[in-house]
Symmetry: C2
Subunit: 208 residues, 2 copies
């Protein structure tokens, strides 16, 4: 019997390392996860493949899809649209694949409205001092920008209670282990399995 996949949303403040955690998660052997491919209106960069890195679309096409409620989340950034096409995710879930969507906190709240049965994982920094040094470590922003990002991070930390799980990113592989445990456990929750098991058993019970 085909069981539906689960959408896992991995999110957290800027600088927390959620991109690294997500990449390491997909590098793990024996892990069978689909990564959600985003759609964008920006031009493909050298080497980017349509349908792999992004679905590339014209602005009019994107806006039509937005009007038809075709995204589970979307945003405009530097004059370009970015969004997660609902149909692509639904197709993966229907085929029984778990989908991981790595996304900013604001986007996660959009997903929560669109996909009620998704599982929300908040990646937290070990401490604000650590987050600050990670943001500094990029070396690409001025102290003012770093401070502003930290303030945003604190506000986003306050939103973690809206998530289902909190994984502290002390060490990337430990965080990946935690996410894998969450994925395994979510497949065992009574809401997801009891109906299927009872169905199997009842169809069998007529033999007695």
């Amino acid at each position: 019997m085909k069981r539906r996949g689960i959408l896992f949303v991995v999110s957290g403040p800027s600088g927390v390392g959620k991109g690294t955690v997500r990449a390491s998660l997909f590098e793990r052997e024996g892990v069978n996860l689909s990564y959600s491919v985003s759609m964008t209106t920006r031009a493909p960069r050298e080497g980017e493949v349509d349908g792999v890195d992004y679905f590339f679309a014209e602005r009019a096409q994107f806006e039509t899809m937005m009007a038809q409620d075709g995204f589970i989340e979307s945003a405009e950034f530097c004059g370009n649209y970015y969004g997660t096409p609902k149909a692509y995710v639904e197709k993966q879930l229907e085929a029984g694949h778990d989908v991981v969507l790595e996304i900013e906190v604001q986007g996660a709240f959009q997903v929560k409205k669109a996909m009620a049965d998704a599982v929300f994982i908040f990646i937290a920094p070990p401490s604000l001092n650590e987050l600050q040094s990670r943001l500094n470590g990029r070396g690409t922003e001025s102290p003012d920008v770093v401070l502003k990002r930290l303030q945003t991070a604190v506000k986003e930390m306050m939103l973690m209670s809206e998530y289902d799980y909190v994984v502290t990113n002390n060490e990337v592989q430990a965080a990946v282990d935690h996410i894998l445990a969450i994925i395994e456990a979510e497949h065992l929750t009574v809401e997801r399995v009891a109906a299927n098991i009872r169905e199997d058993l009842l169809s069998e019970a007529v033999d007695f």
Copy 2:
């Protein structure tokens, strides 16, 4: 900062192999779990150690504890009382240890009333045919008794929706893996960690 342990209740129909699963869980290396020690009024058997196998008690002592609501579950069986002392479990949880309680379905429902924040794991048979052959395999009961147990098992299967998780015992080590994933994930649920993390961060935030 000391975090409170979690009580995991492992339960399921007779013959499903929950005792074997629990024993294998405790044999796993690196697993740090406390096993709940029951109290009983029956006489100690050769080699049984008070406080390890059971807490042995007089009938009057047991009844006083029952009257004082001192058990998270208790039952009378063949003229002897059996029960799980609340104080012992609470002490383990307060010390930050997770406690595993393996118990019959009826007892699990008593625990649910006494310990609202416990996590309930239902061990399900792969199929009713398999459960029947496991009950037969014991070779100790008549076909009538086996049939009666199967009927009880079907009724108990109907109660699984009251649990939090369902682990199908196809293979003992796989079931143990599932339980370990559930234990890890439960420590990451937002209800259990968000308050602690926010507290840590806010105490730190004054530095900025």
